[in-house]
Amino acid sequence: MSDATPPRASAPPDDRRESFEREALVHLDALYRVALRLTGNASDADDLVQETMLKAYRAWDQYQRGTNAKGWLLTILRHAFINEYRRRTRHPETVDLDAIEPFAVFDEVQEEDPQGRFFDQIVDDEVLRAIDQLPEQFREAVVLSDVEGLSYEEVARILSVPIGTVKSRLFRARRQLQAKLYDYAVEMGYIKGSRA
């Protein structure tokens, strides 16, 4: 008997590839969407996703099969972003949320459009632009939770913050987004609005 046996044998190459395709590559679109919102441009998003997939494949033997691959990949992606991209990516001017008085859009529209039908007239690009203007901490919470549908716990783990922090960031980010899109809808005449 030898003690030199490695604790975990690497999977044969075919299994490794097959499981990576099945569990990791299926999340390519999600990784790309998150990368786009983090970097703010398509070319950096491409590079960030590619790098994430390469790192993930190299570390694939450390990933426990059948657990949460999406969360695992997004953690790798976010670390790569922070370490290598954040300094050089340029985002549109972000706003200081503390400087803005948040208001509940529902209170403004409950007479005119309580079901929020005016939202339906707002196109994708306008929504993405509004998200891009959020401060990074709020933007990543919205993207992981509202766009990719991760639980508070998964978002907290990826961002390395307590669950309470995720909740408060989400609350403020959603209110801010609503307010921004409401102002836009008023400006475009989709809704009369009561703040003018």
Partner: protein, 74 residues
């Protein structure tokens, strides 16, 4: 549960992050309180709208090709 407490749990309710007990209490409040129900419906519509608008983007097929090539030499 009163309106104030229900609204405090608004997003946790919509995100399905409440304990079953509190979730039941919120749901019961919404049965009894039309104004709160309207507000919850509005917020739910907003979250659905947000997700629908943002999930239309897919990774470019060229990126997928590049990654497969890097990983498996194809």
């Amino acid at each position: 549960m009163n309106c104030r407490e229900a609204v405090d749990h608004l997003y946790e309710y919509l995100d399905q992050e409440l304990t079953p007990e509190i979730e039941r209490a919120v749901r019961q409040h919404l049965v009894d309180c039309q104004p709160c129900l309207e507000q919850f419906d509005f917020e739910e519509a907003f979250l659905k709208f947000l997700q629908a608008r943002c999930r239309s983007r897919c990774a470019p097929s060229e990126l997928k090709r590049r990654i497969l090539h890097e990983l498996f030499g194809e």
